[in-house]
Symmetry: C2
Subunit: 343 residues, 2 copies
């Protein structure tokens, strides 16, 4: 039997899941779009692009949102879209968004009331982040041609200094700004009607204010940033490790995971480290700056549970090792379908 | 019987068709997102936003593309997405795109080969427009949750001077840069398998080079620009007239429409003036500059059939009057479902 040729392949759910299959699809299908730019372009596959304009960088980012259900505990697709784009800008160093776009694709028959709720939620999140929504687009697809609503937001902002996801060196420390897995588990609980998991709530929030404080405290010593959305912390650490060609060693007992998230994850049978977050960041910092940055994070309402969870090493570049307290194991790159339509 | 309350209403195809229903939905549901900005923001409902940065304006625009079928004579969804965004930037005065985004939402089971074709086409159009694609996003929805592929492109570029769609004054002349209705009729012909209409071809093309020449020739005397996509020429003229509070008088015999487009439009029973274009612009120019601008347009491959089609008047503000050669009639604002998923 012969393997079907690559061009006869079909897109699968795993190609949107934030793991290895998605990375490969993007590298093989979308990377040919890349052209050289002065700054960070498509080929960097970072949270966005950063284009040199005079002595600053214009950061540009985009995300389509397909979360299902569109209303979930702690948020909805509108809040998710605004925060997702604000956070991608912030992860590149642009913490004061200049403008966001809002492009809605709506299914015929969608309740106008629900659309109004989503818009109200976008408005609130945009105001929280001080990120003006400045332009938009509306399309309608026929009944049955789209499951509800797809929302795309793009955003622009200036960064004095770009923080990429490739900046780690051996010895740098890794900070997560709070508990892990909240968003993904809240959506899954709502989707599966897990009533007993009533305490689960998405963490979806705009991180630009928090990141601004971290950058103010850490300056040049903040060397890498990324938000652990699809693919969760595991996905982000693999990207950080691969791009900087370092190893990463994690201290598992230090990882902040809420009890209810851990319980739900066990019930569904998924590692919380693979689950999407929408209000958390992973920061790589020079060891000497970690205390300063942590103090700044702790002083912000969204960073109270910030903690150092690991460090970059020269050994085993591209690999993420988990110290469990009893021994060590390799944390694999996310693979498979994971959680479809989680954001 | 009581009319259902507005909040119990459901989204209909007409809400995406580029006519009156879409305008009302946007005004009623999305306009609450608008906040004051220094420049042109959401409340202007123009082709994009223009945000003051120093002594220039950063233009930001977005469009989602849902065209069906995704491959049509003369182009495909990829070329459409790139050109649509390049053209929206150009219509605001930003003719040298700094960067475009590419966000794909793909249905599970979509052929990878088709995705590769679409990407190749985006690459070609981006190169034609000298518009680098600098960042992207990929999502996958389950089989049956999306009809194929939705492609969003956003774009940014600087404009020294912003040209809005509200700049007409009585006496200004209206130029269209070429034949009308080509894109919409080509898609419809392909959709309905109208074999005999084999000559129909979409006009989808990046207009930034053409617009650059027009602005170079006309300078400050180019006072309004808009591309007649959904809703066609009729939709655009209604917007130009309403926003500038002028009347518009059109010379029907001057309107350039290809024979095959006219034939197909008659067969399907639609006015070509309501049909989408994807490679044409409508320019409002001071009367004294019209010859200069026309000469510049004619010298460009995409502007050979550019022609003055009408003028702005002080009478009947907001109204578009068609001089037929035998008499006059009012050209109504597009209404109803028109052509769903035409772009």
């Amino acid at each position: 039997m012969t393997r079907p040729s690559r061009s006869a392949e079909r897109i699968a759910l795993k190609h949107g899941a934030g793991g290895r299959a998605m990375r490969r699809l993007i590298e093989e299908v979308f990377l040919p779009l890349a052209t050289p730019v002065d700054g960070v372009g498509l080929s960097a596959l970072d949270d966005g692009a950063a284009l040199r304009v005079g002595d600053r960088f214009l950061v540009l980012t985009t995300d389509s949102h397909v979360v299902q259900p569109i209303f979930f505990p702690g948020g909805d697709i509108g809040r998710l879209a605004v925060c997702g784009t604000v956070n991608d800008l912030a992860m590149m160093g642009a913490t004061e968004p200049l403008g966001l776009t809002c492009a809605a694709v709506v299914e015929e028959g969608f309740a106008r009331e629900d659309l109004e709720r989503v818009v109200a939620s976008m408005r609130e999140a945009a105001s929280e982040a001080q990120a003006p929504i400045v332009t938009g687009d509306t399309k309608v697809m026929g009944k049955g041609q789209l499951d509800g609503l797809v929302l795309n937001t793009a955003g622009v902002g200036f960064a004095e200094r770009v923080v990429t996801d490739a900046g780690l060196s051996p010895g740098d420390l890794l900070i997560v700004t709070g508990t892990l897995g909240d968003h993904g588990m809240a959506v899954m609980a709502r989707r599966h009607d897990l009533g007993l998991l009533g305490d689960l709530k998405s963490d979806v929030a705009p991180l630009n204010g928090l990141v601004r404080e971290a950058l103010r405290a850490g300056g040049q010593d903040v060397v890498a940033m990324k938000d652990p959305t699809r693919g969760g912390l595991a996905g982000v650490l693999h990207e950080l490790a691969a791009k900087a060609r370092v190893g990463i060693v994690l201290d598992e007992p230090a990882l902040p995971v809420k009890d209810e998230v851990r319980a739900a994850a066990e019930m569904i049978g998924i590692d919380p480290l693979l689950v999407a977050n929408e209000g958390k960041a992973v920061l790589g910092v020079r060891a000497g700056a970690a205390e300063r940055v942590l103090a700044a994070l702790h002083a912000h309402p969204l960073g109270r549970r910030a903690v150092v969870v690991g460090r970059a090493t020269a050994e085993r570049p591209g690999t993420v090792i988990l110290h469990t307290g009893f021994g060590r194991r390799i944390l694999a790159e996310p693979e498979g379908e994971l959680l479809p339509r989680i954001c």
